[in-house]
């Protein structure tokens, strides 16, 4: 499990800068620090069971006029891709998605890279914009990027994904 760090707290702060009103999440131990931060900030959470369902719920909230984000792990994009493309993207739903990445440096699972490594290419092929954050970027950049991703999603009426490498040792150890 990833612990809260300056960078994960920065993502929370960036979403709060955007005036996030609620978030839909599918639990993951490595995105839990973001969920914990949003919970501490008192942002209402909507727990979902699968990622495509989460896209639908978050999309409904967005259509209702709420500032909503989806929080998940990147291997869930396999579940979410049809809903993302045929609903969120096709219906021009401005939806920021914050996802931790798996399968890279610091990974302990022998298998998860087999999907997670392909996620950036899968998103690109599906025409879904993704930004990436890792240890090379400062917490200040993480915060500003989270806000900008949410703004871009709403401004351009589409899902925009923020991929966070929280398992890289330098991120996990909160190194600059």
């Amino acid at each position: 499990m990833s612990a809260r760090s300056r960078r994960t707290d920065a993502v929370v702060a960036g979403l709060l800068d955007w005036s996030l009103e609620s978030y839909v999440h599918v639990p993951s131990s490595h995105v839990a620090p973001v969920i914990a931060g949003l919970d501490d900030a008192g942002v209402p959470a909507v727990l979902a069971n699968r990622e495509e369902e989460a896209v639908g719920i978050a999309g409904g909230l967005a259509l209702a006029g709420k500032r909503v984000a989806l929080v998940m792990q990147d291997n869930g994009f396999g579940n979410a891709l049809t809903a993302l493309t045929t609903f969120a993207k096709a219906y021009h739903v401005g939806l920021p998605i914050v996802a931790n990445t798996r399968g890279g440096l610091g990974e302990y699972n022998a298998m998860i890279h087999s999907f997670s490594e392909a996620v950036p290419d899968l998103l690109r092929a599906a025409g879904i914009r993704a930004e990436m954050l890792g240890p090379a970027q400062s917490p200040v950049v993480w915060r500003r990027t989270a806000t900008a991703c949410a703004e871009l999603a709403v401004m351009t009426h589409r899902p925009v994904v923020l991929l966070m490498d929280v398992m890289h040792p330098a991120t996990a150890e909160d190194l600059d």
């Binding site: 609620s22 839909v24 909507v46 727990l47 979902a48 069971n49 699968r50 495509e52 369902e53 989460a54 896209v55 639908g56 719920i57 978050a58 999309g59 409904g60 909230l61 967005a62 259509l63 209702a64 006029g65 709420k66 909503v68 049809t82 809903a83 045929t86 609903f87 096709a90 219906y91 021009h92 739903v93 009426h157």
Partner: protein, 186 residues
């Protein structure tokens, strides 16, 4: 009861309210009754109508009806749990059950053996099963009027209505019209 008969009742009871409509022939048949800005036709995204309806209801858009078929509800089965778990008032989940994937060559669905009303009840949803237009109107009017959460499983005949035109509009335009309706209604 044909699907079109059931849709006519749903459209009438929720005439001034949003309806999230599952994909395929059901969406086309609802549109054939008369296009409304309050209809959000999902042209694909099978199994997502309940989830979108849940999001709308959690966002304060009520009353709202989310309409699934038996096949699409079985595809989005986890949504039953999410609806029951979050339990927003004012959401009606309507499942049109013809025991087949009517939009997919009428291949029988698992609803031939699986009791969808029992699944809804098992999730904790107050559930009615109905098999005629008057019973549907009565139950749906009650759920809407009470402003409560409810599931309604509607037994309908198999097949699709003949000569219903395709729904070829840009989904983005459908969404814009729907959100404008919500804004004007607020």
């Amino acid at each position: 009861m044909q699907r079109l008969d059931a849709l006519r009742v749903i459209d009438d009871v929720y005439a001034a309210d949003p309806i999230v409509m599952t994909c395929g022939a059901p969406a086309r048949e609802l549109a054939s009754l008369g296009r409304r800005a309050s209809h959000l036709y999902l042209l694909d995204s099978m199994g997502l109508a309940g989830a979108v309806g849940l999001g709308l209801a959690l966002g304060g858009v009520t009353p709202v009806a989310a309409v699934e078929g038996d096949g699409s509800q079985l595809m989005g089965l986890t949504t039953l749990a999410s609806i029951a778990y979050h339990a927003p008032p004012g959401l009606a989940l309507v499942i049109l059950d013809n025991h087949e994937h009517a939009s997919a060559a009428r291949i029988p669905s698992q609803a031939t053996k699986i009791d969808l009303a029992a699944l809804c009840r098992g999730a904790g949803l107050e559930t009615s099963d109905v098999d005629g237009p008057e019973a549907l109107r009565s139950v749906l009017s009650e759920v809407r009027g009470d402003g409560r959460l409810g599931a309604v499983v509607v037994r309908i005949d198999g097949g699709n209505a003949p000569d219903v035109p395709l729904l070829l509009e840009d989904p983005a335009a459908l969404a814009v019209r729907f959100t404008q309706f919500l804004e004007e209604r607020a």
